[in-house]
Symmetry: D2
Subunit: 332 residues, 4 copies
């Protein structure tokens, strides 16, 4: 890997961790999603027991606001046609025999609702995952765009680690760290094991706070500033060599959380912001999914005591997308 | 049902067909999706055999164009940040240790890519599905918005009827009709049965034409005008009492096709445009999904001889959406 | 005028004031802009002396934010092409001999920057200016859209009343009222007279506060809530019968201010919000222009002692616009 | 000037022509607009005689389409609020006493309606006007953005050369060339002289064709392809050393036309596309304004025999805009 001057601080921090470059060929743009082969899919299907389903996508364009990294904007949803158009005589449907219709569009940040980060979302040392030149992002993502993930889909066995319930709190406070040790203790308490190829879901309770107590309560808890810009300070796992090696060894294809930033925003171990993002996305090719609504699923798991399930997610097939909005489904 | 003067021609045409109003209560906004209970989900899961997956979403913002009803526009995809921002010194990532990132957004018609129509997309007689007032659509969908479908998800057993292969053609020509009799013959030839609660997928080959031969070839085949406006003239099933009763009796929760309009656009039986839409969406509460990429799935089915599978779809959770973009996944 | 039940409180309040309905014919959609005939234009031209020019439009998409009514959003400005596209080989300009170009677009609230309100922006009693049915706004403005103003242009003699300077303050505080008496005293002190047909510009200093001390200082001074929604509480003139009659008698075609709301937001005289808007726009057909950058112009006027000038404004020609963004020019 | 390899063909073609780099200082971002000083403004004001006004902006979002370079899209105009919202109970205006309002936004290509190209719209040899690095355009225009033009305004004496009327045709056919000799003959026939500092307007009749006979007639006449992409082939002036020197010597601040491309699209003299753009914008700093509605103005000039007037234009103040939509006003 070629590190330029700017990237060195980060590159130095993570210099001891593994990567998956070349593992699936020099042209690979899927990364750890390659772990989800048909056998992995069948393991996911095999985890189904009750047939109960849960969708994880958060509302888009909710009148009370959407959870959002502060430099992004809420989605806009525009009605293009409704009953008013017909009342005002602005549309006729004669060839249709008179039935009427409505239409609409969305103006949506790809990272502004429940989504999966593509492998080209993050880089350092001027190189993306698998060594692609970061300059290929200029004017549109050319390598590792989200279309590859959209085309493949994310289907496998999922495991929820409900850290909030494990700690017996409604939600983790701003800035709190979850250690690997705690993850494993949580799994153990839940009677579940993170196996090779499992999609890992971690619940902090943040989305539940947003939707139960409202946007103001959420931002009051988590909003802060970084370098003069509005930002969030969320709870989560963070960078350690041990954790990264565990992700690698467990062959985790994707990390999904109910937070906006997926990890402890201001890392307790590195002092920098979001150090797991590049290690996961760019080095290991591990996808990251953020802003998942995990509250109902967690309640269901607590009830039946089963924290493994079939996970199915497929982002919108945005050509050259840096990420893709999606509404994942869990089948228990 | 209260028919107003404008709607009478259509209302008269379909006056002999059943509806599902009140079947799931006066407040129901899910319609035939109610058929997809945990048992139906388990039947879908039970149809899995190989673990192969197929995603059905079409590319969004493809440089060669997206398939589109002519009065809608292709999606716009805007890069908000790429490597160029960093080269030009317009962004710094100091608190991050210097790693860099890309960001983007989409401006997207909800019915302008693979999507599911919500029950409020279509009405006549001033009433939506279950008798809700069509005036509730004014200024934003209040009843039967796509958020209900997004929250529930569409998970069950799916069956593909590959009419194009059944006819031994690459794609059905503009305006051709598929009869119920042909659907049943196709199923029989394929050795599959449409059972109660199955998601019904019908392949005409239209999306394959678009993606194999290009947008020009597609529009040359299908583009036409209705009442002075540019329109499409596609192939598909169309309204008959018998067909509607079959959908009702089979408890089909959703019809999905690889066309833009889901049915024979200019109906051979009624002479009007798209007469199945209101009967399915508004009367029976049956969802409709359009522009599905079915070519690879069909090839897979032809290869292993199995036309049933687990179908999983969840539209984006657009609050008050008339429809929702989605990237469905099939697990064989 | 037909008042419906909902509108009665407002209709009662303003029942004693005049209107211009029918004055320029039953089909008129220009209102008081009709006062700006060629003679009025020549009066404006006659006010030119030095040839100095001032533009009044505020920046759109400023990195530090744009002044905005809180329920609207800042403009988004998207680069569609820049040098990065060429560096990354994503565009070629062969037929051009190799020269390169940049391109962009804006996503812009029509009332989200310096603009003029169209006559269809506001109504009561279910009727717009000149008695047009308010239902004609459904699904797009059919009568009194901003295209009529855009087609005509706003050209005439303008007069600035610099109330902030008159009071010897940098800006008027939130909620302060400017009376007609004060306007006249200000004019008198400035040695200028508001004559028939003059475009009236009133300066409170609000935009200067925004651009000199920043968005935070601006919102700290003016932000409030109305009925649970974020709102502003600005300074300005407000409704009295006397003031409305003065506008009518002076044949003022347009009121322009350096505030977001153009008038005392929470009216001291009526207790309601923005009571001048409907009286001016809907009854008299007087246009309203908001968020004008008046600081430089005011300094220029103070320097040369001349507060009259040629005013030239033409909003974007948005078909069916409720208002139109514009960048007015003053020629002194 | 530093020419890179890619740019050489163009750079060679125009190597004999003058530039204005450094003329107004190394930091100048206004270019030839500097010619429009207060004296020039007063010369424009002195050209007023009748007080008649003409606006030149074309409709935005017209139901029958907007004139457009084929790779751009028509503007979208979205209603955000109308009477339907109130009828459906989705908005209340209690604090307002019950008066109601409408609201809207536009999604608009800056070069997709009547506009002025900023000096950063075009470059070659990796340098913008005045030698600024073309890399400063990456991720947003940093130098020579349209905000400088918006802040200054374009006010001066304008002269219309009505070439269509001079040729006694309704419009110039696709691909036709207008020579400098013809411009001067046209001026002479019209009894007008292009003086130093005049804004130059050239009419070909193209916009009149669009608005009189419709979009289809317009594109039938002018649409073509360049290098596989849809394009236009319009009539206009084109590059010669003599013409460029005339622009320079006449100190023309801006060229405005009623075409989409402002010049003979496929140059008869260079064989390349649009060779005047970089010479005017990047070398001389001369602005270019396109898609001006000149038909009514031309008729007025023909009637009174006066082809000079006051020209006033100010684009929207888009920060970092590559161009700015505007609705210019002519005062005769």
């Amino acid at each position: 890997m070629d590190e330029n001057a700017d990237a060195e601080p980060y590159a130095e921090i993570v210099s001891g961790t593994p990567d998956n470059w070349g593992v699936w060929g020099d042209d690979d743009e899927l990364g750890a999603l390659n772990h989800l082969d048909p056998d992995a899919v069948l393991r996911g299907v095999g985890a189904v027991s009750s047939g109960e389903t849960f969708t994880l996508g958060t509302p888009i364009g909710h009148p009370d606001g959407d959870p959002m990294w502060p430099t992004r904007d809420d989605a806009d949803h525009h009605m293009l046609r409704d009953k008013g158009h017909f009342e005002a005589g602005k549309v006729t449907r004669e060839p249709y025999g008179g039935w009427e219709n409505s239409d609409d569009l969305v103006y949506l940040y790809n990272h502004g609702t429940t989504h999966v980060d593509g492998l080209a979302h993050v880089w350092y040392g001027d190189e993306l995952y698998n060594g692609f030149d970061a300059a290929t992002t200029k004017g549109g993502i050319e390598r590792c765009g989200i279309e590859h993930v959209a085309d493949r889909g994310i289907v496998g066995r999922g495991v929820l680690l409900d850290v909030a319930r494990h700690r017996d709190v409604e939600y983790l406070d701003a800035g709190e760290r979850i250690t690997l040790e705690e993850l494993l203790a949580c799994a153990s308490e839940q009677g579940v094991e993170v196996r090779r190829g499992d999609v890992l879901l971690i619940r902090t309770g943040a989305m539940d706070l947003f939707y139960r107590e409202g946007a103001d309560a959420f931002y009051e808890e988590f909003e802060t500033t970084h370098g003069g810009e509005p930002a969030l300070d969320e709870a989560g796992i963070t960078y350690t060599e041990e954790l990264v090696e565990w992700f690698d060894e467990r062959e985790i294809p994707m990390l999904a959380t109910d937070t906006v930033t997926a990890e402890q925003t201001i890392s307790e171990t590195t002092g920098t912001r979001l150090p797991l993002h590049p290690v996961l996305l760019r080095d290991l090719g591990v996808l990251i999914s953020e802003m998942n609504r995990l509250g109902d699923l967690a309640a269901g798991c607590a009830e039946d005591g089963r924290y493994e399930f079939l996970y199915v997610g497929a982002p919108l097939h945005v050509v050259g997308g840096t990420g893709g909005p999606m509404n994942p489904i869990v089948v228990k």
